[in-house]
Amino acid sequence: MEINLIAETLKFLVLGMSTVFMFLVLMVLVLNLQSKIIRKFFPHKEEVSIPKRPIAQKGNLAVIAAIAASLQSYKKSK
């Protein structure tokens, strides 16, 4: 069967744009709702529930250590 490419792709356009908008409109609704719920039930105290960073972050520590050492030697050099 011969396919009319342009008709076919126009259908894709309708299908695709509807789906994209459906998704995003739903997202907007959910985000608005969610934000209301969160601001009502967890008013700005949620930061507290996040524990401090695990100490295991060695790489950074090494940098900090290097900095500290360097500052130390700098202090002495003065």
């Binding site: 490419l5 894709f12 695709g16 994209v20 985000l31 934000s35 969160i38 960073r53 295991a56």
Partner: protein
């Protein structure tokens, strides 16, 4: 020191001797069975035959490279043309700052893929091996998306969710381009895109490199090289392509609109956001979940705040390594016999259309929304909906400041900008689901 080495050798020698009795009794003659002695001049002439010079000036009829028959033109001048194109990409990336992180590896991959004789992009060459590991399987683009997720702050979108609609409208570029590809096929004699090809090309309008590559790998692998080059080139051209369109479609008053400051977004909202879009995506369009899922995982790792080790690795070592491999292996599809076809011209042309349409879609959507809402949106941020994070948002900001230097649109434009990433992943899901 020397004693040590000598004694080590001695020790080894004795060990070897004890085994030498049972050593290989292969006759020496048999060792070189497959080798035929050549005279010095024969050696030199066979070396000459294996030079690139000879391969290019004396192309062979019916040579097969990378699994494709290569025309004599493409064995010689075609390769030179492709290498020249790769060098142009180097120039643009280095001197003009065009998306160098991807264009340099891609162009270098293309350079390597066009080397005669070596067949580096073939199934046994290292580009071919990388391609099979990471591109055919879809792994590399998803890992890039993970890194993008780990780098992206969705705060501006959460603060003002309705700007997401701008990111939706900008996807018009994708679907409009698909229609355009169909038109080209119907009305030109020499460009032939299948429906799958058309859809893969359309994704260029999504302004999202990894999404383009992911979709092209599934729908039109033979166009991958041209699509990737077009996608990244036009993303790099955002500051040149968008402004004239933005100015043509908006009035001075619109460009002067000041938007109210974004509210602060709590940590909890940011943590929940990637899960929310995942749940929506599962309900509506599971075919987009690999892409959205990778993005959401990276972002969740970032916002959770407790696995910094991992999220930092995703946005540094991991994404860098994958970028190198992805770029080189995508570049391997720039071999002359794949790139120097009329379809490439069509793709480059359609890519430009796609960007223009996406930009216009976002801007016009903002104007429509302003008709129905009291909280006015500056339509300049509509253009950021094409994604190309964060360049498109910067362009919006710059254009806004041209009219009023005190009007900072950057954070407002980040909303549609990141929504554009989600929007094109959804569009990709739709296209993949059509052809399943």
């Amino acid at each position: 020191m020397k004693k040590l080495i000598i004694s080590w050798m001695f020790f080894l020698g004795i060990a070897c001797m004890t085994t030498s009795l049972m050593a290989s009794d292969i006759a020496k003659e048999d060792l070189n069975k497959d080798y035929k002695s050549k005279s010095v001049s024969e050696l030199f002439s066979s070396l000459y035959e294996s030079t690139g010079l000879n391969a290019m000036i004396n192309p062979q009829e019916g040579l097969v490279s990378h699994g494709l028959k290569v025309s004599t033109f493409n064995q010689g001048a075609g390769r030179v043309v492709m290498i020249a194109i790769c060098f142009t990409l180097f120039y643009l990336a280095i001197a003009k700052g065009f998306e160098p992180l991807l264009l340099i590896p891609i162009a270098f991959g293309g350079f390597l893929a066009n080397i005669p004789v070596a067949d580096i992009a073939g199934p046994e060459g290292f580009l071919g091996i990388l391609f099979n590991i990471g591109i055919s399987t879809g792994l590399f683009p998803l890992l890039i998306f993970m890194g993008v997720g780990a780098m992206t702050d969705f705060g501006p979108l959460i603060a003002n969710p309705k700007t997401a609609l701008l990111g939706g409208a900008a996807q018009l570029g994708i679907f409009g381009t698909i229609v355009g590809a169909a038109v080209l096929t119907e009305y030109t004699g020499f460009i032939n895109f299948s429906l799958k090809d058309a859809c893969a090309i359309g994704i260029i309008g999504g302004a999202d490199g990894p999404t383009s590559i992911f979709v092209a790998t599934r729908l039109a692998p033979e166009l991958l090289g041209a699509i990737a080059v077009a996608a990244y080139s036009y993303m790099a051209l955002v500051p040149i392509i968008q402004p004239p369109i933005m100015r043509a479609l908006t009035s001075k008053e619109e460009r002067l609109i000041k938007m109210e400051q974004l509210r602060e977004v709590s940590k909890l909202e940011k943590i929940i956001f990637p899960l929310t879009i995942m749940v929506l995506c599962i309900i509506i369009l599971p075919d987009a979940t690999p892409l959205i899922g990778a993005l959401a995982f990276g972002n969740f790792a970032r916002e959770s705040g407790v696995i910094k080790r991992l999220s930092e690795t995703m946005e540094n070592a991991l994404i860098n390594i994958v970028t190198i491999f992805l770029g080189l292996s995508v570049g391997s599809k720039l071999a002359a016999e794949k790139f120097l076809v009329p379809e490439t011209l069509g793709i480059l042309f359609l890519g430009l259309i796609a960007f223009a349409m996406g930009t216009a879609g976002g801007v016009i959507m903002a104007q429509i929304m302003n008709k129905f809402s009291k909280q006015k949106i500056n339509p300049l941020i509509g253009s950021a909906g094409v994604s190309a994070v964060p360049m498109a948002a910067r362009v919006s900001n710059k254009e806004g400041m041209k009219e009023d230097p005190t009007n900072m649109l950057l954070m407002h434009a980040m909303g549609p900008n990141v929504a554009g990433v989600i929007g094109s992943a959804v569009a990709a899901g739709v296209l993949l689901s059509i052809f399943k």
